[in-house]
């Protein structure tokens, strides 16, 4: 059964000139439950917008995103927020940890808007990523690698069905990147979560069985060179 099913997805933005610029045009894309897939996309290919659409952070201009049988595009924003909190999680290149909060609180905060805080599970997750002795450390007191591991723990805090990872190792050196990726994939497997990762790092991409060129998925970027990936559409 498909966990994620995208059909005829389109998203554009208004340019300063008043034109609608199409950045996402995905006729079809799908993932099975617990599947791990990677999208290869260069800068400007619309990969973050694509993930934001799947996460329900952005609303598409048209098309459908079905996750676990629920049409995300039909939900009003508060319901999308709730759905995201309960079913999805996001791992960012810049980690996006909250600076004023400890490692444990960052994970707990990830639970706060979903099923609710579970301190024991939060500790377990941080222990799983090797930070059991850093629970009360704030992000600035942690190394870059440790911060990424807190972000991984937070991403798994609500036992999501789908983890979206946007260049999750982009800020790490090669060694730490491999370590973090292995941890992310393993943790997703352990928790039965599907993983959709976007990256332009070939070293990362080659570890996935399913790797797709974003330009093959997102037709909006096909006709133009990468730096001008957006296809202009006159309103």
């Amino acid at each position: 059964m498909k966990l994620l099913e995208i059909t005829d997805l389109k998203k554009g933005f208004d340019s300063p000139e008043g034109e609608r610029t199409l950045v996402i045009d995905v006729p079809a894309f799908s993932m099975a439950g617990a599947e791990q897939a990677a999208l290869e996309g260069s800068s400007g290919s619309g990969k973050t917008t694509f993930l934001n659409l799947i996460a329900g952070i952005l609303r598409p201009d048209q098309g459908h995103i079905q996750i676990d049988g629920c049409d995300l595009t039909a939900l009003p924003e508060p319901k999308r927020d709730e759905f995201r909190a309960l079913n999805l999680s996001y791992v960012f290149q810049t980690f996006n940890l909250l600076q004023g909060y400890t490692a444990l609180e960052n994970v707990l905060l990830g639970m706060m808007f979903g099923p609710g805080p579970d301190p024991a599970f939060a500790r377990l997750l941080l222990e799983r990523v090797g930070l059991s002795n850093r629970l009360s450390y704030k992000p600035r007191q942690l190394s870059v690698g440790q911060q990424q591991r807190v972000a991984l723990a937070r991403a798994l805090a609500n036992r999501p069905k789908l983890v979206l990872a946007d260049e999750p190792t982009g800020n790490l050196d090669h060694g730490r990147a491999q370590e973090a990726l292995a941890l992310l994939r393993e943790a997703c497997r352990e928790n039965g979560a599907a993983l959709l990762l976007v990256s332009h790092d070939r070293g990362i991409l080659k570890q996935f069985e399913r790797v797709e060129e974003l330009s093959n998925v997102n037709l909006a970027g096909r006709a133009a060179p990468p730096e001008k990936a957006a296809q202009k559409v006159i309103r």
């Binding site: 934001n52 952005l58 909190a85 996006n96 909060y101 706060m112 937070r154």
Partner: protein
């Protein structure tokens, strides 16, 4: 998500934000504390002074004095403030004393002081019959006693003893006038024979001497007959020469006060009856009510400034917190959650500030109580409940919530995608 869990989550966000912006939080808390403390103090001190001056332990129903202002009469004789409006003949005292409707009539003769404390010439009844509160008399504490009407003896109030150092057995010389002037020293020497206990009334600030002492004080002139008369040592003073500043009255019934008011104030031309004393003072407060209105306005202005500072302190953090809100939204927080977090934050600052305001309130009210007691002898009750003590806390919290609306709207409208990472 249950309400309780949601609140716990919001409180965590609020706590962290307050800690992260500790300095601005502290300054804003202080301004909220000052505002709520001022508001509470203005209302509370106003009510307490009103109660103390209009219904305090006066012990008399009315004051009979020279024709003129009832308020001046009351201030001069009851609170020992202001100057005397003049004297009335001794005969008025003896007449009203004998009236069957009068329970107690005590003459006062004023015009001298000791180190600024008023000297009041009176009779021994002041200690034996007068009750400043039901069942409470001005009794000299052991080993003291009341004065002998025929001797130069004095009974002093507790505040006088405390401030001047006079004790039983101490001697002093009165000074002419109600304001202390070292050049106006009377030669007569008085000996303190008693110190009254604390009554928390203006009597604590009085030096009581026999009324005969005032009559016979060097330089004092009696005009009871219309012509000047100076008492001579060893010679009795005829009643016709005697004058008193006022007669303090206690009636057997309230109707008596009404009848005396008709007779003395409406039909008579010789004297004035200040009755009832509480009403006379209430009229004073009505006249100076505008002062309280101004103080209230100032306090409200400080509240407005505090609300503004809450708004500004949170609003100024909005730019740096956009990413935080975007992260929270990405984690599944709804728009209304971040909106509520900001409202809760501003409400928390206002509420904590208001709680801190009780310290400011306590400091202001205690200071006011000390000043009022020092100036008038009237005791305020700083711990007396006033509705403003609760309403201000509630009001400040509501104002705090209101002050958070503008930054909350900004947080509400934070664009998630653009504030998480640069969109590609």
């Amino acid at each position: 998500m249950s309400g309780l869990r949601r609140l716990a989550g919001l409180m965590l966000i609020v706590r962290r934000s307050l800690r992260q912006h500790a300095l601005s939080t502290f300054v804003t808390l202080l301004s909220a504390a000052l505002a709520s403390g001022l508001v509470m103090a203005v209302f509370s001190v106003n009510e307490q002074t009103y109660d103390a001056f209009t219904g305090g332990p006066v012990g008399f129903d009315a004051v009979l004095g020279a024709r003129g202002s009832q308020l001046q009469l009351v201030l001069n004789t009851v609170f020992h403030l202001e100057t005397s409006p003049g004297n009335i003949p001794w005969e008025l005292y003896t007449t009203i004393q004998k009236d069957p409707r009068v329970q107690l009539a005590i003459p006062y003769a004023v015009g001298d002081n000791f180190n600024g404390f008023r000297i009041v010439g009176t009779t021994e009844e002041m200690f034996s019959r007068f009750e400043y509160q039901a069942g409470r008399k001005l009794v000299p504490e052991p080993p003291g006693r009341t004065f002998d009407p025929g001797r130069r003896e004095a009974v002093i109030g507790s505040t006088v003893a405390q401030k001047t150092g006079l004790r039983v057995g101490s001697t002093f010389n009165p000074y002419h006038g109600i304001v202390f002037d070292p050049d106006k020293r009377h030669e007569e020497e008085y000996v303190v024979v008693g110190v009254t206990g604390v009554s928390n009334s203006p009597s604590d600030r009085v030096v009581w001497i026999p009324i005969e002492g005032i009559f016979r004080m060097e330089g004092h002139v009696l005009r009871g007959t219309g012509t000047e008369f100076q008492a001579k040592a060893g010679e009795q003073i005829d009643d016709k020469h005697k004058e008193v500043s006022a007669v303090m009255l206690k009636f057997k019934s309230p109707q008596a006060g009404f009848l005396f008011d008709q007779t003395i104030n409406r039909q008579g031309k010789v004297s004035t009856l200040a009755w009832p004393i509480g009403k006379v003072m209430a009229e004073l407060f009505d006249k100076i009510g505008w002062i309280n209105k101004i103080l209230g306005l100032v306090a409200y202005l400080v509240v407005a400034v505090a609300a503004g500072s809450i708004l500004a302190s949170i609003y100024n953090t909005m730019n740096e917190r956009r990413r935080e809100f975007a992260i929270l939204r990405a984690l599944g927080a709804r728009r209304r959650t971040v909106f509520s977090a900001i409202i809760l934050e501003s409400t928390t600052i206002a509420t904590l500030g208001s709680l801190l305001g009780y310290v400011v309130y306590g400091a202001i009210v205690l200071s006011a109580a000390v000043i009022v007691r020092r100036q008038t002898g009237v005791a305020l009750d700083p711990f007396k409940f006033n509705p403003s003590l609760v309403l201000t806390l509630v009001g400040m919290s509501v104002i705090g919530a209101g002050a958070g609306v503008v930054p909350a709207v900004k947080a509400y409208s934070t664009d998630v995608a653009s504030n998480l990472v640069a969109s590609t």
